[in-house]
Symmetry: C2
Subunit: 275 residues, 2 copies
């Protein structure tokens, strides 16, 4: 059974209730030793202040969310995206994050050319790696569910992300998020492949609700949906993953409306019983 030491809270899970300081202190009160903040949460409190809050509370940072969004209709737009990613990288370093999570972006402008968008993603990550490698900051490509292919991320399966890693070389890996990948008949095999290549950088958990009422903001608490969380964790462990289990729940109508203390208590309980 997973222990509290293996739990990390992605702070998107508490974004409507708490700012970064409140969330970090709240997690610490509940005995949680790791979080993953978002850049807008960092920006509100300030980078230096955020780093202090995290350090003072002894928090591991399992990832910074997020870089990415590489495709743009113009060269200037792609350069601006790359510049922003370099800033994200510096923030990840400043926070001592274990990786920078990349949500790679979808179709640029009014384009329908998804193959072209995928080339822009590869080009962008390749350039970002030139700064990430010397900084020692791993880039975690997060394949997103195919329902986000147009507007959020055109990397949509673990196989595709790993093919990309193979071409990009050292410094690139993957974030395995069960919400995006649970349905994939190749998931077990591709997790094993990622492990062999040393590419498993992060493991994100939540649950897939039936019915799902919103494409973006209706993720479930572990145990409330249909994902075989213990089975997937077993595949991760057999592939050699020794990192934490990061709970990331976007839930506009449910968990974001609840008392954050209840949310954390439930995360801890379900992490122990349902993952």
């Amino acid at each position: 059974m997973p222990s509290l030491k293996q739990l990390s809270i992605n702070l998107a899970t508490l974004r409507e209730q708490w700012d970064l300081r409140q969330a970090v202190e709240g997690c610490a009160r509940h005995g949680i030793r790791a979080v993953a903040p978002w850049r807008d949460q960092i920006a509100k409190v300030g980078l230096t202040e955020s780093a202090c809050v995290l350090r003072d509370n002894g928090m591991r940072v399992t990832g910074l969310c997020r870089g990415g969004m590489f495709p743009a209709p113009t060269e200037a737009g792609r350069q601006a995206a790359l510049d922003d990613n370099r800033r994200a990288l510096e923030e990840a370093v400043a926070l001592g994050a274990e990786c920078l999570v990349l949500v790679v972006g979808g179709l640029p402008g009014d384009s329908r050319d998804i193959a072209g968008a995928r080339r822009m993603v590869e080009d962008g990550i390749g350039k970002l790696l030139e700064a990430a490698r010397p900084a020692g900051m791993p880039l975690a490509i997060e394949p997103l569910h195919p329902m986000y292919a147009a507007d959020r991320a055109c990397v949509n399966t673990l196989r595709q992300a790993l093919d990309l890693c193979d071409r990009l070389g050292e410094g690139a890996g993957v974030a395995v998020d069960v919400y995006h990948l649970w349905w994939d008949p190749e998931l077990e095999a591709q997790i094993a492949r990622a492990g062999e290549g040393g590419r498993l950088l992060a493991y994100h958990i939540c649950d897939w609700l039936v019915p799902t009422r919103d494409l973006l903001l209706d993720r479930g608490m572990m145990g409330d949906g249909v994902i075989e969380l213990p089975r997937i964790r077993g595949w991760m462990e057999r592939a050699g993953y020794g990192g934490l289990h990061e709970v990331e729940i976007f839930s506009a109508e449910d968990w974001w409306m609840r008392d954050p203390e209840e949310v954390l208590q439930t995360c801890i309980a379900r992490h122990g019983s349902a993952t």
Copy 2:
């Protein structure tokens, strides 16, 4: 450019406005020579009457929607599903359909075992093939978008469907629906594979809207979304597909609310200009 002769209308596209007879006669008035009805539409008018209406209007039937839904928590439930599929098969034969489309079903009952559901699907199709082969009725496995993996179909990529076909042997093929498959980085390669194996039984078109407001009932008219329809048609043609292009649009808030004459005019115009 596609011609009107290549157009088929899946009658789900008009389900809120017209019954089967009205829809078939409406299509005929617009010079459309092929349709794909749903079983509930057939049931309302009656099988014999439906067959007459289709024949009298000179309609090809590009597929009967739908068989499938094989998984069930109990042996009796799976047997009932198989019995219902055998009736669907008889209806497809009676209507002279070119294939029986299979939406295979998702997780049975409160199960989370998607691998188990997939085994039930394979077992069910295998048994249905014993009746389908002597009847000369091809079974078109339709991989559905991964967002339907839990509740509608646990076959979610063309690769997975073709692996299934390889194991099932003669009589099984695939329905390629752009809505479900457009995002797949392997789509071109898997369409080519399907063509080599003689497995391309149907081609369904519509469009993916950005944003998509509902997981089930917010499909777009061709040209209104982000799918590269001409490119995918090119892949189908290069793979040897010589069948029709079947328009299937579930659209509770838009196309189902419109005058059906306008819907058909738009289908014809967009089929010519945007696919």
